[in-house]
Amino acid sequence: MKSETEAVERHARLSKVFGTPPGLGQLSAVNHTTVGLRFIVASLFFFVVAGILSMLIRAQLATATNDFIGPDIYNQIFTAHGTLMMFLFAIPLIEGFTLYLLPKLLGSRDLAFPRLSAYGFWCYLFGGSIVLLAVLLGHGPDSGWFMYTPLSSEPYSPGIRSDIWLLGITFVEISAISIGVEIVVTILKVRTAGMKLIWMPLFGWYLLVTAFMIIAGFPPLILGSILLELERAFGLPFFDPARGGDSILWQHLFWLFGHPEVYIIFLPGAALISTMVPPLARHPIIGYTMIVAAIVATGVISFGLWVHHMYTVGIPHLGLAFFSAASMLVAVPTGVQFFAWIATLFAGRPAMKLPMLYLFGFLIVFVMGGLTGVMVALVPFDWQVHDTHFVVAHMHYVLVGGLVFPMLAAAYYWLPHVSGRAPSGKLGVYAFWFIFIGFNLTFFIMHLTGLRGMPRRVYTYEAGLGWDIPNLVSSVGGFILSIGFAMFLMDMLIYWRLGRLSPRNPWKADTLDWAMPIPSPTYNFGSQPEITGPNPLWNQPDLGREIAAGKHYLGEVRNGWRETLAVDVVSGRPHYIILLPGPTYLPLIAGLTTAIFFASFLLKVYWMAAVGAGLSLCVYLAWAWANGAKTDPVPVAASPKGDLLPTHTGLPQAPGWWGLVFTLVADAHLFASLIFGFIYLKTIAPNWPPPFVLEVSPLLPALAIGGCLVGYLGARAARLANEAGREGMRAIGLVVSYFGGFAAAAAFVAIPWVGLEDLTAHAYAAGIAALAGYGALHALVGGIISAFVATRCAWGYVSPVRSLETRIASLWWGYTAVAAVIIGIAMFIVPAVLPS
């Protein structure tokens, strides 16, 4: 009895520390459970909207020469359907359940950067609202969800529609990158004691690779969107073939993102399956290592497939062969996962519960999508069916099979975890059959529609081409499918509040997410368990009680701190204690100021956009300022056994340092895409060479690159001086790097300014301007970082022990210096040596 009273008291103390104020105070929530659920609810809202749009599409196509919807509205509707489903439903839904589940599966109390995920949520919500509002007002983007230029360019899409897509979606992608960095750092560092990398739930491996793919895959699209917006707003001709641009460059940048995107969506679906299959089969997963290898292989191969969306643009056939081979070979790692799941079912005693039914739906639908995927990877066959309804059918089999069916299974599996209540099971079975039959009715026959030659994205068609009956069948199926989804949502809503109470761990699962009371407390674990194997709740049956009784790590509340363990990446040995931030309005405010930037840019009020950017910078700095201990931390007790661990504040390998590393990885991919684009235009685009060349005094590039090198050397000197305790030298280094940064930024801006007559005349000039802009921005941010760190030094927030800030300045400057040298090479050497 004593231990139970103690557990209840511990619960009360932890709840107080980890809670969020009620009412309007909810806007300050940063807790991963809350933010994760917000992502899920918002993404379901967009799913419903996009689903209604798809019903309008099916209504229009139900009969030939139907005039229910005209071409203008139709084009907006299908563009919005694709955009909403991809960017505002699928990715945010994945982010949502990852934010919710990941810390629970890893045995930790929150994510590495709670405020960052809250900021990600606001960016998603505001960016998505901009897009949705435009669609509802009839000003939605109408160039299709992959926005091919020149259709989306200014001459063929005047007005605001394309800008809505480019700016709204870029805004949402900031969210995706934030969450990507969040997930990587969390998986690598924020696990519970003893959780070796090779004992981590497969979910962790899947999301680790997915998050890397987000970090690597989204920047090309962000870059493409920035370049296209620069073309639309200021006339810099990156994609205009008449002025040395190339519309195909957009396709490369888009699909460099777009193909990994498919696996960014499928891998999390597979992650859920790999988490649910062992408990449902009542057997540990078979082939753990092979699955991990398959996940990594999928991630790598997925970056070599993008051209398979471009077989018909006129790329030489042998060039296509490579992409064809890669596209087909991706079937192998997928096959490994399927056979591992089936093997696990073979080995165990499968329980035929409701999630299992949905997993069967997944098996059939996704296998079919994969099979047609192999077909369209075959170049000659794709030459025929590309851009027909065959591809529309294929894509829906992959995406609905790869994400929606696993998500439906997961919804039934984890609903008790979220609400503490269990669904009845009956409505869920009916919903399954409506969804499964409706889906196949809609999309199976659509393969035939495509084989009979119906192109995608046509708002109407003639009777008598053999398209009438298949389209009518698809439309009927679409409505059955919609009824199924409505039943599912109703089931969720009803049992959210009215279901019978669920026992703890209703599936007898092995993972730590079920080692807590349900619905889950805000702090997840009364104490963070030390685990001794890959299936914690099966290896240590008493774990739930021990956790609640505070027998493991960080069971006691002190100083009102929100604590969670950080571990050694590979071994899972406790490394330090992260002091998590509590509720704060900073993410919301930062989201609002970012929204001011995007909305003003959209409305072409550029001074206001500059104000928004400036305000955002101030909020980011305030955010960074709020961190940090004022005195050197001392190790504190971390477990009842008396282990001592330092707190993270200022540690060289604090989460913030890792966060910057992976942010720079994303940044580097954006930069690499820019360099790729510049070289691509130079070597392949029509209408080169340009009518003029860059003419500047060598002093300017010398100042630009030299300034960045000085910035780096100054920041590095400051870091070393800090470690040696030489405060004077530290201050000098930071001031030097500050001036280096501003000199370099000014020089970068001056290069296109004085060296080129007209930035809008040729893609060459536009490319130079973009490179210079990239250099100037990084030097400027570097200067601001140096000034910021110098200020913190002056306030006494930095010491030889609390060295994080000087290390961050040094890292940023190192990156900037390397980038500046590459920019110099790209500007002055590449155009001279490469052929046009």
């Binding site: 091919y148 018909t312 070979l329 165990g348 030459w383």
Partner: protein, 306 residues
Amino acid sequence: MSILEPASRGAGAVADIWWVMFWGALVVLAIMIVLGLYAASSRPWHAGKGLTAFILVGGIAWPTLTVLALLVYGLWLGEALLPRGDSREPYRIEVVGHQWWWEIRYPQEGGATLIDANEIHVPAGRPVDVHVTSADVIHSFWIPRMGPKIDAVPGYTNVVRIEADEPGTYRGQCSEFCGLQHAGMVLRLVAHEGDGHLDHLERLGGGSAEGADAGAGAGAAAFAENCSACHSLDATQPAADPGPSLAGLSQRAFLGAGAIANGPEGLRTWLSSHQSLKPGNLMPTFHHLEPETIEAIAAFLEERGR
């Protein structure tokens, strides 16, 4: 429009490979469903032995061998479809995609070019190299029964080879989304027996003898005032701001790139209400014209567009 009713050797080869893949895919799907159901039916596998081999064989060996075989087949087929390596001299035409119609150009000996719209006349039983580009956004040239599609990309010229086995008429349609009237970009390919395509070219070029000058009469004046800025009646001369050439108009089966059947009635309906037949097309409405003026233009086009 169906690729399952091929009318050329290339399209036939792709249709064959489709049926191979279709039956193959059905077999794979059946195996996966049976495996899944069997695995879930509570039949304990003895001590989990051999399951690693099961994954290696099913997950790695099986898909690897299958896709490799398919890959080799596909590469070989793709090479065979390319516009090269045929002893016969290919017939050459040029196609330019416009929002939302097709410009067809027949290069003639001596450097002249005859310009037509939305209909292609070629010899049957002879390879035809279609040189495809675009005047504005990206379109895609595709006649399903003839085989592969190719994109019309501004700034580039792509070549696709087609060959009609038999004389006949084959429908095509733009297959890359190109804006409001993407659905309204239909194309007809007429494959003629023997030298029948030359008769078409002769009739097309014949109109040029009368010159670009519209001539006298009320219809001619109305045409000159309302139409000639965008439309030429001379197959050798494009108009200054080019809409589809109207040379040889009466020979076409359709108006407005597939919007309505050509004929006395169709022509008049098109002139008076083309914006409701093909909403968003770039031709201005003629609501401000008297019915007599429209009639005069129609009569003039019937006369001159022979």
